[in-house]
Symmetry: C2
C-alpha cells in the first residue's frame, strides 16, 4: 500500500530512497468497512488519511439538523478536517468511509517528524495545502456562478467515478441541491 502513496507523491516531488523509507515508517495502513465513521465531530481529528482505495466524505449537521456533505474524495487523495487536524482544535465534521476503504494514516506528530526529517515532504505538504486552496476556490466559483445542472455536468466530466460509487443523496448535498433535483437532472441527461 505504501507504494501507491510513494508513486503518487513522486509524480509531483522527487523522493530519495531515504524519503521513501520514511514514508513507509510514518504512514500506517488501515482498512475500514463501508459506512464507518472514523473521525467524530466534537473532537480533534486524530489522523490525516491517504486513500488507496474506496470513497470517503466529510459531513456535518447544520442548525436545522440537516446533514451536509462538504467534501467527497477518492484515490489518489487525502482527507481530513485539515484546519483542525493541523491546529489540534476540535472539528465539527465527521470523516466517513462511504465504501470499504484501504487507507494510509498519519497523526500530527508523525507528519511533523516526517516534514522535519525530509524537506521533500515539507515541499509536498505545502503543495497539498495549495491544491486544497485551489480546489475550494474553484468549488466556490462553481457554486456562485453555475446552475445546478452545470454543476452536475462538471462533476460528471471531472469525477465520473464518484457518480458511480457514491450515494446520490451525498452527491446532491455536495453539489448544493436536493436529491429530487439531482434525480431530475440525471433523467434529463440520459
Amino acid at each position: 500500500m505504501h507504494q501507491h502513496l510513494i508513486r503518487n507523491i513522486s509524480a509531483q516531488i522527487k523522493l530519495s530512497q531515504a524519503d521513501q523509507q520514511l514514508c513507509s515508517t510514518y504512514f500506517e495502513p488501515v482498512h475500514f468497512p463501508k459506512n464507518r465513521v472514523i473521525e467524530e465531530a466534537g473532537q480533534v481529528p486524530q489522523y490525516l488519511y491517504y486513500i488507496v482505495s474506496g470513497f470517503m466524505r466529510l459531513f456535518h449537521y447544520n442548525e436545522q439538523g440537516d446533514e451536509l456533505t462538504t467534501h467527497i474524495n477518492c484515490p489518489p487523495g487525502f482527507i481530513t478536517s485539515y484546519t483542525h487536524f493541523i491546529n489540534g482544535t476540535k472539528s465539527n465534521e465527521y470523516v466517513e468511509c462511504i465504501t470499504n476503504c484501504e487507507l494510509l494514516k498519519i497523526d500530527k506528530s508523525g507528519l511533523d517528524k516526517l516534514c522535519s526529517q525530509s524537506s521533500s515532504f515539507k515541499d509536498y505538504s505545502i503543495l497539498v495545502f495549495q491544491q486544497s486552496i485551489t480546489y475550494n476556490e474553484n468549488r466556490s466559483k462553481e457554486l456562485a456562478s453555475l446552475s445546478a445542472e452545470q454543476r452536475y455536468q462538471n462533476l460528471l466530466k471531472n469525477y465520473p467515478e464518484i457518480l458511480l460509487q457514491v450515494p446520490l443523496q451525498y452527491i446532491a448535498s455536495f453539489l448544493g441541491m436536493k436529491p429530487e433535483s439531482l434525480s431530475r437532472i440525471r433523467r434529463k441527461n440520459n
Copy 2:
C-alpha cells in the same frame, strides 16, 4: 502605514523589534485611486497586498464574458491571486481597487526573504494560508446550503462595512446572485 500591519500581525504572532524592522524593509507603501486595476489577468501576479485602507476585489470573466467577482476584502486583510502569486504562474484574475486604497505591497522574492530571515513570519504566513482555507471552505458551505437571502444576511452580519462601501453589482456577483435579486432582498430587509 507599517504600524498598521505590525499591529495586526502582533495580534496573532509575537514579533521582535528585529522582525518589525524587517517588515518595514520588505513591505512597500503604495496608494491607488478608485477603480484602478493593479494586477492583470494573463500575467503572473507581481505582489501580495496588505490593505491599510480602502476596499478591493478579485474578478475575472467567464466563457460568456460575464464579469464574476470572487473575492472582496478590506482592512485588515491581504489580497492577491494566492496560488499564482506563490507558484509564479499566470493568473486569470484581476486585482482591483474599488475605492481609493492605501496598501503595503511585497513581491515573491521579498516574501521569501522575509520568511527565511524570521521564523515568526514563516509562522504567520502559514497562519494566513490556513485562514484562507477556512475562509474558502466556509464560503463554499454557505453557497451550497443557504438561500440567497441568508447569504446576504450573513454578509450584513459579518462584514456590514462592505455593504456600505462596495457597489451592489459586485456584491451580488460575490454572493452568487443577480443584482436585481440583491435589490429585492435589500428592500425586504429594510
